[in-house]
Every structure is written in structure tokens, then in C-alpha cells.
């Protein structure tokens, strides 16, 4: 049994807060408030803000002790092609993204097909504060304090049948909210997949938050997957469907460029991207480059799933 213990200091209190994200709104309100007070009148009800709410969570045994990357960098340096291919684009363009109401459909080879409301999905298991290393296929990395629970909790709940060999995830398709989906840069909607054992691995995190609060829109709100031993693009964002399937599902980057992005895409310093080396990485905030670790340093927990597999072939 997992012994739940409140964290000594939640990461949300150590570092920058979501106030930063809403600083303009904050300033406007502060100004309005000041003006209202000066006029001796009551402040009119402000529009409901999409501010990130605090989450109740426990510490996780899977967290790294490395220093988390500042909130500012995690929320401004994003690869989220549904908004923009420019890394600094999503922070601005995702400002009005609607995450409520949000439903996640569970389908395919399961005992009970079901659609979860986000709030119910979030309550399915105890949320954990999990600090993971994050390695982008482009050669940069971060340390990110995610909030979520192991995806296995959900899988156990919905009981996949024996036909389920893989899990297929799909991102919301909505050209109105995702301007990037109007371009042909990838086959929309974004899809990703994991082998059943990978999905069941306790490290695979169904993620609802960052830095102790609900996910900022540009980081995949309201619910995403985080697979820390794989390159970042495997960690699909803004999920609306989780489907249990019998064969390897098509995945967005693999479909776009099969020669460059494999289905597995495990972090591997020995298997280079056809166009660049994967031996080193630049940790955001550091000057010198670091050596990239096999399975992003999570070998102890995941290497056994790939024993006997030729990782150069199944990259």
C-alpha cells in the first residue's frame, strides 16, 4: 500500500506562481480595484478568469531531486504545433483556450466504454507531485514538476479486454481554437500511442497539473500524458480520446516522417536522429551541454520492457 504523506513544501510554494501567467489581467484588475476604491464604489464582478487552480497532491517516490526549471521557461518555451510552430507562440495563442467543459472518451477494447468528465477523471486517484526530467527530440531538456497519477489507475478502472495490445491517444480537433490545425504541418488531430506495458508502467503519468496547479493551456491543458523516458512529442497534450487497440496505432510524428521518428522514440544517446546527434542535450538554464542518459535516466524502471529488442531498429 502506498503511504500518503503531505509534502514538506509543495513545489508551488517554492517557485513562481501562476500569477505570472495572468500578470496583465492581474495588473488590469489591480488598476480597476484601485480606481473603484478611490471612487468609493464597489468593484463590478470581473469576468471569470481562467486562472489555474491549486491542486491537492502528495509527494511521489518517482520524483527526481534535480532543481525544477523555472515556471516562466516551462510556460513560454513550448512545442505545441496546434497553436504555432514557433516556440514562443503557444503562450500567447492559447490564452483563450477552453478547457471547461472537457470530456475524455474511453473506447476500443474495454469492458465498459465510457466518457469521463474532466473533474471525475481527476478524482479517480490521488494526485501526485512528480518531478520528471523532460527531454525534447530537438536536444534540449527541462526538469518539470507535473501533477497527476499513474495512467495505470485509469486503465485498471476501465478494464481493457485481452484484445487490447496498444493504447491510442488523440488530441482535440478544433481549428477554431487551434490555429495550427489549419496548416498541413502534421496530420491532425495529433495522435500518439503506447504499448500496453508502457501505458501500465507506473512512470506513465496522466497529467492534470504543473507546479501544483492545473495545467497552463500552453502545456497541454486540461489533461495530457507524460512519458518521461521517451522524447517529449510522445507525451500527447489536450487529450479527448483514449482507445484500446489490437495493433500499433499510427502516431503523428511517425506518420509525418517515419524515417526520423519511430513509434517507440525512447530517449537514446546512442541512436542519433538522422539529422542531428542525440548524445548531448542543453538543459534549459545551463550553459554547458549535458550527456543524454539512456531512457532519460529511467532505465531502472523501464529498460526491462525492451530487453531483447534491437533499439536501433525499433527507435
Amino acid at each position: 500500500m502506498l503511504i500518503k504523506k503531505q509534502p514538506d513544501i509543495p513545489s508551488s510554494e517554492i517557485t513562481s506562481k501562476s500569477v505570472y501567467m495572468n500578470r496583465r489581467q492581474f495588473m488590469t484588475r489591480a488598476t480597476l480595484l484601485g480606481a473603484a476604491l478611490a471612487a468609493g464604489s464597489e468593484l463590478a464582478d470581473p469576468e471569470p478568469a481562467q486562472a489555474n487552480t491549486k491542486l491537492t497532491m502528495v509527494k511521489s517516490q518517482f520524483s527526481t531531486t534535480e532543481t525544477p526549471t523555472p515556471f516562466k521557461d516551462i510556460t513560454n518555451y513550448n512545442n505545441f504545433y496546434e497553436f504555432s510552430t514557433d516556440k514562443y507562440g503557444p503562450a500567447e495563442l492559447s490564452r483563450n483556450f477552453k478547457t471547461h467543459p472537457w470530456k475524455v472518451k474511453i473506447g476500443g477494447a474495454v469492458a465498459e466504454k465510457k466518457t469521463y468528465d474532466l473533474d471525475d477523471l481527476m478524482k479517480l486517484a490521488t494526485l501526485e507531485d512528480r518531478i520528471y526530467r523532460h527531454r525534447c527530440v530537438e536536444g534540449w531538456s527541462m526538469v518539470i514538476p507535473w501533477v497527476g497519477y499513474s495512467l495505470s489507475n485509469l486503465i485498471n478502472q476501465v478494464q481493457p479486454t485481452s484484445k487490447a495490445k496498444y493504447v491510442k491517444f488523440t488530441t482535440l480537433m478544433d481549428m477554431g481554437q487551434f490555429p495550427g490545425q489549419r496548416s498541413q504541418v502534421l496530420d491532425w488531430p495529433y495522435t500518439e500511442g503506447l504499448r500496453m506495458d508502457e501505458a501500465m508502467n507506473p512512470l506513465t503519468l496522466l497529467t492534470f497539473g504543473l507546479y501544483g496547479e492545473t495545467l497552463p493551456n500552453q502545456d497541454g491543458a486540461p489533461v495530457r500524458i507524460v512519458v518521461p523516458w521517451k522524447y517529449g512529442f510522445k507525451s500527447i497534450k489536450s487529450i479527448v480520446s483514449i482507445e484500446f487497440v489490437g495493433s500499433e496505432p499510427p502516431t503523428a510524428w511517425n506518420t509525418a516522417t517515419p524515417r526520423e521518428y519511430g513509434f517507440y522514440s525512447n530517449v537514446n544517446p546512442e541512436v542519433d536522429h538522422p539529422r542531428w546527434s542525440q548524445a548531448t542535450e542543453r538543459r534549459i538554464g545551463e550553459f554547458f551541454k549535458r550527456k543524454t542518459l539512456m531512457f532519460n535516466g529511467y532505465g531502472d524502471q523501464v529498460a526491462s520492457m525492451y530487453s531483447g529488442m534491437d533499439l536501433k531498429k525499433y527507435f
Partner: protein, 208 residues
């Protein structure tokens, strides 16, 4: 146009050409380069190298179309700025990406086509930069100097290929660079073909 006006204009253009570098340095010292500043410096200096290379190649066509002969006086200036930004770009790669690890650099040039292309582009610019003086033109002789400086076409092609090959997925920018380069080179080809059709000097008829 009067000589002193050209000199004054040259000073203005020179300062403008330096602006991207100054802006970059200012951003770097004010923490305005975002989460991955070293990558930003590499990308920005690379983009400016390409912009200046294409601007250099645009001088002759624009001069001929607009019939403004003195534009040619700015070609060397722009070309040297292309080389200047190319050197900054190469330095960021050698320093911040490879930390002057010679073994890694050689391996990279050999193994990665986009690095090979980028290195080629820079190497082709190098002899042009060092023979850009009036003295060099005299020493080499006009036509030999001109032939040597046709290397700029190859350099620009290599630079665009370098950009094209390194982009992960969104090819909008390399495509537009390639389009402009095609126009600039196409202009020269068409000009040549037209010149061949209407020879300036009547052909000499050999009589036996």
C-alpha cells in the same frame, strides 16, 4: 550621385547592417533571449547571414531593373556583412554547441549533411571576403576576380540547403528563402540567354 552623398549613405547602411548584432547583444545582456538563449543566438545569426547573402545577390538585378548604377557601390558592404554574420553563426556553433571539441566537429561535418552544407557555405564565402579589396581586384585581374566571386552563387545555394535540411517540420521559411534565391539566380540565367541571342558584336565571318 555625388561621391560624398554615397559615402554618407554608406555610413547609414553600415550602421543599419550592424543593428541586428547590436540588438542581439543588447538582448543577451538583458535576459531577453528567452528560455534557450544560445539556440536563439545561433538561429538569429544564421537567419541574418542568409538575409545578407540574398541582399548581396539582389544588388545587380535591382540595379539593372531600376537603372540606378551607383547601387553597385553597396554590394561589397552587404557581402562583407553576410560574411560577418556567417562568422558569428559559425562561432556560436563551434563554441556553444561543440565547445571547440575538434573531434566532435569533424565528425559532425562528416556525418550531418546540414552541417556539411553550412560549412561549405561559409568556406565558399571566405576567399571572397579576403579578396574583397580593390588591391585584390588589381592583383587578380578583373575577369579572374569576377570568376572567383561567382562562388557566391554556390555559397548561397549551400546556405539555403543548410537551412532547409535543419528545419524540423515547418518549411515555410526555408521555402521562401529558396524562392527568392531562385528568382535572383533565374534573373541572371535569363539575362545570359538574352545576351546570347542578341550578340553585342557582329560575328566575325571567316573567309577562306
Amino acid at each position: 550621385m555625388q561621391r560624398r552623398w554615397i559615402i554618407a549613405l554608406k555610413v547609414v547602411v553600415w550602421v543599419l547592417c550592424l543593428c541586428p548584432a547590436i540588438l542581439l547583444a543588447w538582448k543577451a545582456t538583458h535576459d531577453l533571449l528567452g528560455a534557450n538563449p544560445l539556440s536563439e543566438v545561433t538561429l538569429s545569426t544564421g537567419h541574418w547571414t542568409l538575409y545578407f547573402l540574398l541582399s548581396t545577390l539582389a544588388v545587380s538585378p535591382v540595379r539593372k531593373i531600376t537603372h540606378i548604377p551607383w547601387l553597385i557601390r553597396f554590394r561589397r558592404l552587404l557581402g562583407l556583412f553576410a560574411f560577418f554574420y556567417g562568422c558569428l553563426h559559425l562561432t556560436t556553433y563551434l563554441w556553444f554547441d561543440k565547445f571547440f571539441d575538434l573531434h566532435e566537429i569533424v565528425k559532425d561535418i562528416y556525418k550531418r549533411p546540414f552541417i556539411t552544407a553550412g560549412m561549405t557555405a561559409w568556406l565558399l564565402m571566405f576567399p571572397l571576403a579576403i579578396t574583397s579589396t580593390a588591391g585584390s581586384i588589381r592583383r587578380l585581374g578583373g575577369s579572374r576576380w569576377q570568376r572567383l566571386h561567382r562562388l557566391v552563387y554556390a555559397s548561397a545555394v549551400a546556405a539555403v540547403v543548410h537551412f532547409w535540411w535543419l528545419v524540423k517540420r515547418d518549411l515555410t521559411r526555408p521555402e521562401s528563402m529558396a524562392f527568392i534565391l531562385t528568382l535572383l539566380l533565374g534573373f541572371r540565367i535569363i539575362e545570359r540567354l538574352l545576351a546570347q541571342r542578341t550578340p553585342r558584336t557582329p560575328p566575325i565571318v571567316q573567309e577562306s
